[in-house]
């Protein structure tokens, strides 16, 4: 029940070696009045067989509905090799590679991952992961404040087209350090930041501008114009990107006009689409890449290549002076444990996909979403919400309240999309829908057919 190897004889000989008569005695420094008699509210032990059965029954209860929700977590195909490798004991049950010589496997993998992510985002350096995309955005804002020596305002502009949960998380993570997040409104026709929204900040001291591409609605922002506007005013640009999209879309490192100032300063996002199962929201991993000039402001672990005593190449954690275990109160972040195993999965995933495979995933997902939106908007009472290009996710409007329709669809085993009412009530009944390469035309037809029925029923009622 507790995976303890000791026999009674072991325990006795160990107690004798210590010189005590009982295990109890080893706790004699704890004030007696604090000692607990018994743990209530914890059930009795189950054997592995019993807990396995419980977990299996609960899993069956939940089933596997057909899912067209995206909104920051995407159901992509995950090659069997990915988790076969990531769950190998040598990766799964190792610690952070503090003893570099006994951890070259993890270290080299992280170095390879850093290379892939830096290139995918078009940036120069990558860390070895943060918790998730949302908290990474918070860390990026803090990093921007440290890195932008020309601004003293701690004001961060955040379009309201940025994932609402990301905005809330960034506010929670960075708010205590006095960062002020100012919301840029979006154009309700286009679902994007309108060029005009920025004008009122001209001449003000702003530290950073956050740009999500594609934005929460799947819409593509005019990243070049936004980036140029920011850089012209010494405002750092924090890009929030979907890694799959970067197979097709311009990477943050190339946003804006060409020239010395080209590109976002920091790019973050959630690595979930890269081989990580949906799993109710985690564990995922946040990635962060940046220009080399900002590397010393980065939070999180970074792996570097160096030489050993015999002059051969090897890998080690580096720039640790940024981190909490060395710099303590002055560290770039308090992060310690990160999301290493997910990075392992992502490194395998990206190696199996390569540039061509990732492009296919992006293109196929996009194509399926077009097909989905096409099918759904052929349903009477359903229309596109915004005009303009999207990537693999789109908002649609319904002519009846969304929540009851979604509940009905769920009862049929279909999760048709995310209800936008909670975060964008101004849009009226609306869904955010997404199809990835995992969906077939039959799936899409099933969803559209069921939606048509449910809307009909709703109208009839």
């Amino acid at each position: 029940m507790a995976f303890i190897p000791h026999t009674r004889a072991d325990v006795e000989s160990m107690l004798a070696a210590i010189g005590v008569g009982s295990i109890e005695q080893l706790f004699d420094e704890i004030p007696a009045n604090l000692r607990l008699a018994a743990l209530s509210n914890v059930p009795e032990a189950l054997s592995e067989m019993e807990v396995g059965r419980l977990m299996t029954e609960r899993a069956r209860l939940d089933g596997r509905p057909l899912c067209f929700i995206g909104a920051g977590a995407y159901e992509h195909h995950i090659p069997a090799a990915v988790w076969a490798i990531a769950t190998r004991g040598e990766f799964y049950s190792a610690y952070t590679p503090y003893q570099a010589e006994a951890s070259q496997g993890t270290l080299q993998l992280l170095y390879e991952y850093q290379t892939m992510m830096a290139s995918l985002t078009g940036m120069e350096v990558s860390n070895a992961s943060l918790y998730d995309g949302a908290s990474a955005m918070g860390e990026a804002c803090l990093m921007a404040v440290r890195a932008n020596r020309k601004s003293r305002s701690r004001r961060i502009l955040v379009p309201s087209t940025v994932n609402p949960h990301y905005r809330r998380t960034a506010a929670a993570v960075a708010g205590n350090q006095g960062l002020v997040f100012e919301e840029l409104p979006y154009c309700t026709e286009e679902g994007c930041v309108p060029a005009g929204a920025l004008a009122r900040y001209d001449g003000e001291d702003i530290t950073a501008l956050v740009i999500q591409q594609p934005n929460f609605f799947g819409r593509l922002e005019d990243v070049d114009a936004l980036c140029d506007w920011a850089h012209a005013r010494n405002i750092l640009v924090v890009a929030v990107v979907n890694p799959t999209s970067l197979a097709l879309l311009k990477p943050p490192g190339e946003w804006g006009s060409q020239g010395a100032n080209k590109g976002a300063d920091i790019a973050v996002g959630d690595g979930q689409p890269l081989g990580v199962p949906l799993s109710s929201g985690g564990p995922y991993f946040g990635f962060m890449t940046a220009r080399m000039e900002h590397v010393r402001q980065m939070p999180g672990r970074i792996v570097g290549r160096t030489l050993d005593a015999a002059g051969r190449a090897g890998f080690t954690l580096t720039l640790q002076a940024r981190e909490q275990h060395i710099r303590r109160a002055k560290a770039t972040s308090n992060i310690c444990t990160n999301q290493g195993l997910l990075v392992t999965a992502a490194a395998v995933y990206l190696s199996l996909m390569g540039p061509a495979g990732l492009e296919r995933v992006a293109a196929a997902s996009h194509a399926r979403t077009r097909e989905l939106v096409g099918a759904l908007t052929r349903v009477p009472g359903v229309r596109r919400l915004f005009r303009g290009p999207v990537f693999h996710e789109e908002a649609i409007a319904l002519d009846r309240p969304a929540a009851p329709v979604l509940e009905k669809l769920a009862a049929r085993g279909i999760l048709a999309g995310l209800d936008l009412a909670e975060h964008y009530p101004e849009l009226g009944p609306a869904l955010l829908v997404c199809a990835t390469e995992t969906k077939t035309s039959a799936d899409i037809e099933r969803c559209a057919g069921a939606l048509a029925e449910c809307l009909r029923e709703a109208r009839a009622a």
């Binding site: 607990l36 040598e90 990766f91 570097g304 909490q324």
Partner: protein, 499 residues
């Protein structure tokens, strides 16, 4: 562990190669013709172009270059490197759990939510707290949530000046770093020769600016803070709150609870006490538990129950919440693993964990002392971990704690934590955990003894260690000075890769 280095995956890469079975069918260029040219990518990213076999072989080989619990004794202090039961992984990875979208309606996922709800209840029980939020994704984020709640609490009372967080000098780095992230100022207090907090210094430190104190008990010095009630009284009297860093909960599970010691808020490292894997750096999970007065400030979401149905509690239900710490609900898959583990422990198993973790640490302490090593706190009981100091050996033999650590690798054992806590010179912080056998502990003592003998006879063998790892000792200074953080095509590197 393998002794053969592996070349970077990019050096297997050939343009045009790929694991095509993994790719979806090409939808054709028409499928993306709606993406405007100026928003499209030009050059392809530098991702490996390898076959599936090449990828599998490369990463399998890399894995063999690691020490891990599954292959080696791994007594890394403060990290609780105990056996990660395979069942936890298998049952958390049932297809239905993996496929569940985080924004699924509550009606889809009552099975999953039941696990999460019961996990909250069990964590409340073991910490003696009134409410628990599962979302923090590691210990450090749990600390963040805790200190943010403390601040929110004071603010909500209009107590706006309280921005000081007290930490003992031996505190883990995340404690002061967290205080800073929460916009607080850190005040360190010393510990006395016995490893307990210096109460006089504490008395001097507390005051109207005190937001709270962060402690772990047993402390990072491997001993139980005996005057914890006194500490709690002093801090509470000054208007501050007590934060419990749960990294060391394995030592006292079922024996004494943070809430009963006077703590107001606690995080639990599920990847330590509840044995979810460390994964070469993560993921972890750092749920926070709070006493009633902090409950309104908990991060969201939380799992609630209405009648027979489990549901999410969000900002709507907790308007004073410190907010969200992650995009969804945190590291759900880690929480599931911890849930499975806790159900397997059950109430009886929890007590066994702390008892045997403590037994193992005290046994190691006794045997290492016999083998000629100096305990940092020789008059104290060890908790689930112990500290020895090699100050004497460093002075007399010129062999440091780091040298011992590296030489242990040659003996097929992972090194203990070195140079933490910093206030103990040349220290090794050793945490055997309850899942290691007496034979494994004896082998460790024997290895330490051998190294000590070697340090006398042939110190260069020790200072030159490791000798049997795939690489010799690595140059950290060079790594930081001549930054090489990404692979570049041949020729572009200062350091050629070894194959």
């Amino acid at each position: 562990m393998s002794s053969r280095l592996e070349k970077p995956i990019f050096e297997y890469s050939v343009t045009g190669r790929g694991a095509e079975d993994q790719w979806p069918r090409d939808p054709g260029t028409a499928a993306t013709d709606d993406l405007p040219a100026k928003l499209r990518r030009g050059k392809r990213p530098l991702l490996p172009e390898v076959s599936e076999l090449e990828a599998v072989r490369h990463f399998t080989r890399l894995s063999q270059l690691n020490f891990s619990i599954d292959t080696h004794f791994y007594p890394l202090g403060s990290c609780t490197m105990k056996y990660n039961p395979k069942a936890c992984n298998q049952y958390a990875m049932l297809p239905e759990y993996l496929a569940r979208h985080p924004l699924s309606p509550e009606s889809v996922g009552q099975g999953f939510l039941a696990c999460m709800y019961e996990l909250q209840e069990m964590l409340k029980a073991v910490t003696s707290m009134q409410a628990v939020a599962l979302s923090p994704m590691a210990g450090a984020q749990g600390e963040f949530a805790g200190v943010a709640m403390i601040r929110a609490y004071h603010r909500a009372r209009g107590d706006l000046e309280r921005n000081e967080i007290i930490v003992p000098e031996a505190a883990h780095g995340t404690n002061p770093a967290t205080a800073t992230m929460c916009g607080c100022v850190v005040r360190e207090v010393p510990v006395d020769a016995q490893g307990d907090v210096d109460l006089e210094a504490l008395a001097a430190a507390v005051g109207p600016k005190t937001a709270g104190i962060m402690l772990t008990n047993p402390s990072t010095l491997g001993v139980f803070e005996r005057r914890i009630e006194e500490v709690a009284r002093m801090v509470h009297a000054a208007g501050g709150l007590l934060y419990y860093d749960g990294a060391n909960l394995n030592a006292i599970l079922g024996k004494v609870r943070p809430g009963d010691m006077g703590f107001d808020v606690v995080h639990i490292n599920l990847h330590k006490t509840f044995s979810t894997p460390h994964g070469g750096g993560g993921p972890g999970a750092g749920p926070v538990g709070v006493s009633a007065r902090l409950a309104p400030f908990l991060p969201v979401p939380i799992v609630g129950r209405r009648g027979e149905r489990y549901c999410w509690l969000t900002e709507r239900d907790l308007p004073q919440s410190i907010g969200r710490l992650s995009g969804f609900m945190g590291n759900a898959g880690v929480l599931l693993r911890a849930y499975v583990y806790m159900r397997m422990l059950g109430r009886e198993g929890m007590v066994k964990v702390s008892e045997h973790a403590t037994l193992n640490a005290n046994y190691l302490l006794a045997q290492l002392t016999r083998a000629g090593f100096d305990a940092a706190y020789p008059t104290r009981r060890a908790s689930h971990e112990l500290i020895i100091t090699l100050r004497r050996q460093a002075k007399e033999l010129g062999v440091t704690a780091m040298d011992f650590a590296k030489r242990l690798l040659d003996h097929g054992m992972h090194a203990p934590t070195t140079y933490f806590p910093l206030l103990v010179p040349e220290c090794l912080l050793i945490e055997p955990t309850e899942t290691e056998s007496k034979a494994a502990l004896d082998a460790f003592v024997a290895a330490m003894g051998d190294i000590l003998a070697e340090a006398v006879k042939e110190p260069e063998r020790v200072t030159g260690a490791p000798h049997t790892m795939p690489v010799r000792r690595l140059d950290d200074v060079r790594a930081a000075k001549q930054l090489d953080l990404t692979w570049k095509p041949a020729g572009a590197h200062a350091i050629p890769s070894t194959s």
